[in-house]
Every structure is written in C-alpha cells, then in structure tokens.
Amino acid sequence: MNTRIKSLLVPAVLVVVVLLLPRLITSSYWLNLINLAISFSVACLGLNIVLGYAGQLSLAQAAFWGVGAYTSAILTTQLGLPVWTGMFAAFFVAALCGVLLGIPTLKLSGHYLAMATIGFGIILQLILVNEIWLTNGSDGITKIPSPWIGSFELKDPATFFYVAAVSLILLTWGAIRLKNSRVGRAFMAIRENEMAAGATGVDTTYYKIIAFALSAGYAGVGGWLFAHGGSHYISPDTFSFEQSVILLVMTVLGGNGSAIGSIVGGTLLTLLPEVLRFLKDSYMMVYAAGIVLIMIFMPRGIAGLVGNLPASLRFRTWWNADSTAARQVAAASSQENSGGSRKTYRPEDCAGAGEVLLTVKGLAKHFGGLKAVDGVDMQVRRGEIQALIGPNGSGKTTILNMLSGLYIPTAGEISLGGAAIAGKKPHAITSLGMARTFQNIRLFGELTVLENVLIGRHCHSRAGLFASILRLPSQKAEEAGIRAKALEMLEFVGLKGKEFAQANSLPYGQQRLLELARALASDPQLLLLDEPAAGLNAAETDALVGLLFQICTRGVTILLVEHDMNLVMNVSDHITVLNFGRKIAEGSAEEIEKNQEVIDAYLGTEVGNA
C-alpha cells in the first residue's frame, strides 16, 4: 500500500466515526457523557505531555482544567466575549499559570513540582471560593453560553459533540506529531536521563517549562469544553485534588507516553463509573487501589499491553514501513561504503602543534572541607589527544564535570576557543563546541539508537514547538539533515543497521559506541571522554584506539580520562597527571613514563621498568 493512501486512511476513518456517532447514539445523556469523556481526554493528553513525554509529575491537572473553565466562563458571562475567544484565552491563561509555577520549581527535579502543583490546586480552590466578585464563590457560575457558528448555536449535546470531537482530534494530532520531533525528543531525553540531556545540548529547564505549560494549556482547552458543554455550570468543588488524581489515573492507565492511550484511559474511566454505580461512595477507593495495582502490575498501562501483542507489532511495522525516516535509513544502508575504505591512521596524522583550544586556570572545586580539585592549570591544543590521568579520587572526573558544566567551579577560569565557560549550563557549553561521554554510560535507554543520536544534534537544529507540530517545510528539511548526520555518525562508530533497536538492548560495548556517536553528532571541537575503555575487552579496546585516531583526523580534539595505561601511552600527544586534586606533572608520554613523582604516585614500578 502506498504512503498516500495510508496518510488518507486515518482522516477518512475519523470523519466517518465523528459524523456517525451522534446518529448512532441518540440519547442526550450518553452524548453528554461522551462530551465529558472528551473534555477529560484532552486534559489527559496534556498530562501525558508533561508526565509521559517529559517525565515530570504534575498533580494540578484538574486545577489547570479549572483555570481554563473559569477563564472562559468569566470572559463570556461577565464581559460578553465570544465563546471562541474564550477557548484561546483558556489555553493561554492556563499555560501562563504553568509557566509561572514552572519557573521556580522546574529548575529542581522530581518531587518539587509534584508538591508545588498540589499547593497550586489548594490556592486555586481558595481563590475560587473567596474572590466572589470574580468567580461568584461557592455558588459557581451558571448560564455559561454555548459556542455559535454564524447564527447557529451549538447547544444540544449532538452538535456540541462535533466541537469536542474536532478539538480532540486536532490536539491528539498535535501531541502525536510533537512526540516525533526535535521538541518531543528533547522532552523524552529529559525523562530518560536529565543529566545526559543537558550534556547533549538540551536546555532542560526550558523544555520542562515548555512541556508543563503546554500540558496546562491542553487542560485549559479541556476545561473550556467542560464549561461550555453539558450543564453550562461550573463550581469550585469540581476542580479538586481528587479530580487531578483521577486524571492522573486515566493517563497512567492508558499508558504513560501514549497519546492514544490517554484518550482510551480518559474515556474508559469516564464511562466506567456509570457501570460501577453500585460502588457508590467507595468508587474513589477503587480508583486508588487501581492506581497502586497499575503501578505494580502494568507499569506501561493499556498501551503497553496492546503494544506487545503480535498483531500490534505487525501493524506498527506495516505502518512505519515507508515513513520518511525509514526510507532515509534504508537509502543510507543500501549505499556502498564507497568512501569508507578504512585507511590506517597513525598517531602522527593528528598530531601537530595547533593553537590552544582549552585553557584552564586555577580551577578548584571544594565539597565542604574536601578539596576535590585544588588549583589546576592546564591547556589543550587543537588537534591533539590529551589524557588526564591519576589515582582514583585525584579529581579527574570532577574536572570533566566542571568543564562540561555539571559542576560549578569553586574558583578558576575555563575558556574554550576564547569564550569563558566556567559556571555555564551544560547545554550552553555543548553548543559552544564541547561534548562528552560518561564513565557509567548515560544513554536515553527507552529510545531507539537513532533517536539517541538525533538528540545529539539538538543544538544544531532550531525547530520550535509550532514548527514541530505543523511540520513546516523548513522543519522537514532540518529533520532530514539531522537524520543524515546521525546516520553518518552511526556508520562512523560501526552501529549501522541498529538504527531502530532500543538503546537499552545493545550490548555494553555498543552502548559505549552509541554514546560516542551521540557526542560526535553535536560536531564538537573538543570531545571529553570519561574512561571510554572501561569494561571493554582487548579487541574492543583496540577498535576504540583506531576510532580515537579517526575522530582526531576529523578535526576533533580529545581530552580523555582513562586508567588503561597502554591505551593512554599509545594515543596521547600530551598527558596531565593529577594527584589529590593538584597537577603533579605534564608532558609527552615518554616524559611522563620517566617522571619519578608520577611513578611514585600512580604508575608504580612495573610500568616504569617496562
């Protein structure tokens, strides 16, 4: 089946379903219920963006839902604005609340946002009840108008269903497109490994705030649907903490990270209480027990269960078979390795006294009383491979962490190609041309190999939220460019053919290579490698040595921390030796091997005699 028919299939099915549903279900009770389910589903879609994509827990989704409902209700009843204007206001006011709440809390991780959102919900309740002039207090707002199209009022549930369904479809479409875009990948990188995301060039705080604001905006639109459909009446107690938890259960049940799952969860749990009326007061208890059971027994929700069925796997393969990405990967892998005839590199090829690329002056990092790094000066010249060696605890990794922005130095200066970078955030340093790998590999484990490397290209691409959702031509071209670069890097490290494997599923040695490919994708001037040979066998280490020389001939300067002395002596143009946070020696491999202080502190006599 060709792509064109495939791309028309889904819209065609949706149009038929939307047009037929009000004909099939004529009871306005059930239609109202479906409209309510859609309102919940929209809020769940939003929660899925912040929780499922970006991995941040918000417990105020019902509060944002309420912000949307109240914003539109107040604007339309008190100021007489058109209902459609209310929809945009609902989105933007809720999103603005998200930004304001996100700025103080999202710099920090995890629990802070969750707790602050509970607080936001409580404060909102207080405002809704106490500011009677604005919200009419506990009595709520009545007679909220219906939307109009021309002179036609969309009042009865069947006609309002069309509004709700179209909103749901558009917002779902947006959420799904977002997932496979630069912005969506940045969200998922944060979810998978926040530290690696930062070091790969993703401004984690910014993207967390974007995800949170967008999720609040979705909830706002959900609230708008709730206010202007159904009973045309809202009151504060609807937008409670319990409701936020129900939205959370819907999203998690549907499948954390799956947009369609959110809709399934939202619909199921809206309709389920109708069936479970016999539970009466205890339905909230059943929900609560459900949430614990889902967490323990089906962490990936319904989407996870369905996703593992053979039929579903086949469907997905068929569906993705000739997507743009798949075709590009296929085209790349069918190419012969024309230019890739492996030339043998010798250390001389990449030596050469280049200009100074990295200068470190008086660098220090103290943890309380412990002086992990205590006044280190060093230089790295362009085109060289420089090694940083020393006993465990001598401060090597701490220096790398300061260079890459994970630690803020206690004192000292770092300049990369003339730009002062000490104390800058990791993503800013990455976009200035420094990339790194980690001692204990930090991949985006649940994402594919290709996606990992695509994220490495983040700082060289620009597509924002709206370009990502609308897939503008510029965004498509950019995506193709990113993919081409990513495929080139995968081929370079020797992971061709693994593009769609999950990063977690790779063997250890290949995970190291993938991390290298991800770092190289950002076109760094300086590449920091933290123990790249740790855990590799002899053959893999040999391959790594070859790769290091090749990276060097691509014009990338390397600073590496490593304990494998054969490797260090073999590849390094220049070696800096640390002990107890201070530099004790530097020079060429030969000089270092003969340096008595280094032998005493680190190398020991065997290597000295060798």
Binding site: G110, A114, A116, M295, P299
Partner: protein, 293 residues
Amino acid sequence: MDLSTNLQMLAAGLAMGSIYALVALGFVLIFNAVNVVNFAQGEFAMVPAFVAVWLMSYLHLSFAVTCVITVVFMGIFGIVFERIAYYPLRHRSFLPVIISTIGVGIFLKNGAQIIFGAEPLSMPRPTPVTALNIFGVFVDPQYIVIILCTLALLGFQYFFFEKTMLGKKMLATAQDKQMARLLGIRVATMIAITFVYSSILGAAAGILVGPIFFVTKDMGAMIGVKAFCSSIVGGFGSVPGAILGGVILGVIEVFAAYYISSAYRDAFAFIILILVLLLRPQGIFGEKIAEKA
C-alpha cells in the same frame, strides 16, 4: 496590637509548627532511607487521629491506653504500608513509587470516610479546656502538651540515632544501602523500621493535633503538604531543617492569618515554599549537592 495577643499567637504557632515538624521528620527519614517522597505522609497523621477518636469515644478507653494502642497500630500500619506502596516498586524509578503512595493516600482518605462517615469528629481532650494563665498570657494547655511531647520525641530520636546500634544501622542504610548490606546489616528490615518509626511520628502528630481541630478525612492532606513545605524550607533531607522549617512555617502561618488574611491561611505555606525555591532552593540547612556523573 498588644504583646499578650502576640504571645498567644506565638504559642499557637509553635504548637502547629511542632505538628508540621513531626510529620516533616517522617518525610525526611523515609526520603533519606529510600530516596522517595511519601505523598501519603499526611495520612500517617489522619489515620491515628481516627483510631484514637474511635478508641476513646466508642470504646471509652482512657487516654493513656488509647495512646499505646494507637502507637502499636501505627507501627503495624507502617510495615503494611511499606510492603504495599514501596516494596514491590523498590527497583523502579521514583515516579511509580510517588504515584503509588498517592494511590494509597487516597485509599486511606476515602476508607476513613466510609468507616467513620463524612461528619467531622471531635477528639476528647486529655487537657482541661480552660486556658492557662502564664504571666498574663492565656494559652491553651493542649499547646503546651504538644510542644513538650514534640521536644520529648526529638530528644528520644537524638538518643536513638546517636547512641543505639539500631539507630546507627539505620543511618548506615540511609547513607549507602550496598555498603550496609555488605557489612551484614539487614537493609530491608532497616527500611521497614524506618517506615514504622515514621508512622509512629505520625501517630504522635495525629493524637496531639486531634483535640485542637476536628478530625476529618482531609486533615492529613493539609498537614502533609505543609509538612513537606516545611522540610523544603529547612533544607530537604536535613533532620534539623525539617524541625526548624516546621516551626517557622507554623508561626508564620498563624501570624499571617491574623495580620494579612484568614481566608487565605492555607495559602501562606505555599507562598513561602515558592519564595524559598526562588531565593534559596537548598533551604536553610541544605547543601547544594550535585548528582554524581
């Protein structure tokens, strides 16, 4: 505004602050032991309050017997809670555990409503109703009891962690589970004991606060989130921080409710939380600790 009213409010603030401090300590101990924020911590104070009301009002037991039974009950409760909400998820990331503690919290809240009804209950007071006159300042004796009991518990806790082997083992577990296990410490048991102790702190908070407010299913949620705010204000993960944060928050809340707005009484804790997060996110005693790369 005269001095004696201010002093009365100070006493009330210190008493409320003590309650927050007790629950905040429960948060911090569990967080230090298993790196998880227990979102049902407030329920650890709500459940014993209901249990105590039931024992005193329906079984007509004396206050002392009620205290003993409630503490024992909460000890068992702590183990059951750990087995359900934490243990099955111990190898997963923090998010599923948080969500599961939220689930258990809601379950408890609605369970309490079904068992005890939606009407607020009042707990019989162990202390006289008439205010004590301390140098012209009238103070509810229950406030004095709260403050003294909290001080006694803190003293016990200091002794326990500093002077006993079990306390040391628990501290070791909190520091480094793998190393503790290698030294022959039963890590799972230590974690279970942490949950038990944390819920006993909740029992103390619930029994102490019960006579001042009505006992309702929602009392725990409010105490819980404010206690969490306290622990952040003090510096998350810090034991003295949790205590000081609780006291500061309790006092500010009482004064702000009087001088600024009583309708927004419950909002002040969060406003302070946001201010602290903006100005000094590591809190009073917290140190900025970066994750190890």
